[in-house]
Subunit: 194 residues, 2 copies
DNA sequence: GTGAATTTAGGTCGAATGTCCTAATTTTGT
DNA sequence: ACAAAATTAGGACATTCGACCTAAATTCAC
C-alpha cells in the first residue's frame, strides 16, 4: 500500500477511536511507522488528512451500499443489511460509537470547515435508504421520512449502547427496526392490491 | 454567585459547546473573567472540573425531572415533556448535539475515568421514563424497553438534526415519538378493561 | 483593629502540538 | 550509469497546554 493510503487508513482508525482533535501527527506516525516530518510531503496540514479520511469513508460507504444493493434480492433484505451493521459492528460501536455520528458531532463543536463534508456521509445513507423504501412502494415523502427515521434510530442505538454497554438493548432495537420495515412492506403490498 | 459555581457553570457551557478536551483553562478563565492561576485554588486538575460539571448536570437533570413529574398530571403528559426538549432546545441541539450523548461519546473515546460517571446521566433519564411507563400500566420489562427506546430515539434525532440541520425532520420525529407513547397508553387501557 | 485564613493575579515549568525546513536516501526516467 | 525527482528522517520553531508556585489582595474571626 502507498504511504499516503497507509496514513489515511491509520488516521481513519485513530480519528474514529480517539477523536480527530485528540489524534496528533505523532500518534499517526507512530502507528504507520514513519517519521513525523514525512507527513508534510503527503499532507500539508492536519485538515488535509481529515479531508482525505472523509473521502475514504465516503468511498468505503459507497462501496458498502453498492454491495448491499447487489447482494440482496429485495429492498427489504437490503434495508436489513443496513440495520444489521448495529450487530456486526457492536463491539466497536460499544467502544467508540458510530464513526459517522461522532465525527459530525465533534466537527460541529469545533466549528470545523469540513463539518458539512462529513455530514454528506449521512446523506449517502439517507439517499440509499430512500431508494430502498421507494422500491418498497413508498411515496417519495414517505420514503424520505422512513429513511431519516431509520438513520436516527441507528444513531440513537449507537449512542445509548455506548453509554449503557448492553447487548440485549441493541438486539431489541434491531428487532424493532426490522419490525418497523416489515410493517411498511406489509401495508404497501396491501395498498398495491386495492 | 461563588467563583467556584461560576467556573463550573461556565465550564459546563464550554464543554457542551466546544467539547471537554478542546476547552482549556484559559478559555474558561477568559469567559469567567478571572486569572488562570486562580483555578488551582478551586480545582486541582481539569478532571476535577469535569467531575463538578457532571455533578452539576446531574443536579440540574434531577431538578428538571422532578419539575416535570410535579408539573404534569398524567404519565403521558410527563413523557411528552421529555420528548419536547427536542423542540425546546432545537437551536442548541442543531449546533452542539445532545449535551449528554456528546459528552459520553467524547469521554468514551478519551477512555476517561469519568465516562461511567457521565453515563449515569443517561440512567437518570431511563429510570425516570421507566417510572412513567410503569405508571402508564406497562410491565417492568416493557417499561424498561420503552424507556430505552425513547431515549435512543431522542439521541438519534439530536445526532441527525445536527448533521442535516432540518427543523421539519425534528417535528416529524417528535410526532412519531408522541404517537408511539399514545399507542402504548391506548393498548394499556384496553388491557386494563379486559 | 489586627492577625489568620481565604482568594486572587501573574508568572514559570516541562511536555506536547502543528507547521516548516534541510539534508540524506530511495526511486525513477532515459 | 547517472542525473532528476520523489520520498524519507530528524530536528527547529513558536505556541499552547495542564500544572504548579509565590506573593499580593481581600475577607473573615475575635
Amino acid at each position: 500500500m502507498s504511504t499516503r493510503k497507509n496514513i489515511t487508513a491509520t488516521a481513519d482508525e485513530l480519528f474514529y477511536h480517539n477523536g480527530f482533535d485528540v489524534t496528533s501527527f505523532a500518534d499517526i506516525a507512530k502507528q504507520v511507522g514513519i517519521s513525523r516530518g514525512n507527513f508534510y510531503h503527503h499532507f500539508k496540514t492536519k485538515d488535509d488528512i481529515l479531508e482525505a479520511v472523509i473521502d475514504l469513508r465516503l468511498a468505503k460507504t459507497r462501496d458498502m451500499l453498492r454491495l448491499w444493493a447487489e447482494g440482496a434480492e429485495t429492498p427489504l433484505d437490503r434495508i436489513s443489511c443496513f440495520i444489521h451493521i448495529l450487530i456486526r459492528n457492536r463491539r466497536e460501536i460499544a467502544k467508540y460509537g458510530c464513526p459517522v455520528g461522532t465525527l459530525v458531532s465533534e466537527l460541529g463543536k469545533l466549528d470545523h470547515v469540513s463539518k458539512s463534508h462529513a455530514a454528506t456521509l449521512f446523506t449517502l445513507f439517507v439517499d440509499w435508504l430512500v431508494t430502498q423504501f421507494s422500491d418498497l412502494g413508498c411515496e417519495p415523502q414517505d420514503a424520505r421520512h422512513h429513511a431519516r427515521h431509520l438513520l436516527a434510530l441507528s444513531q440513537g442505538v449507537s449512542s445509548v449502547a455506548q453509554a449503557l454497554q448492553d447487548d440485549v438493548f441493541v438486539d431489541d432495537e434491531v428487532n424493532m427496526m426490522l419490525d418497523y420495515v416489515a410493517e411498511i412492506a406489509r401495508t404497501n403490498s396491501l395498498k398495491r392490491k386495492s
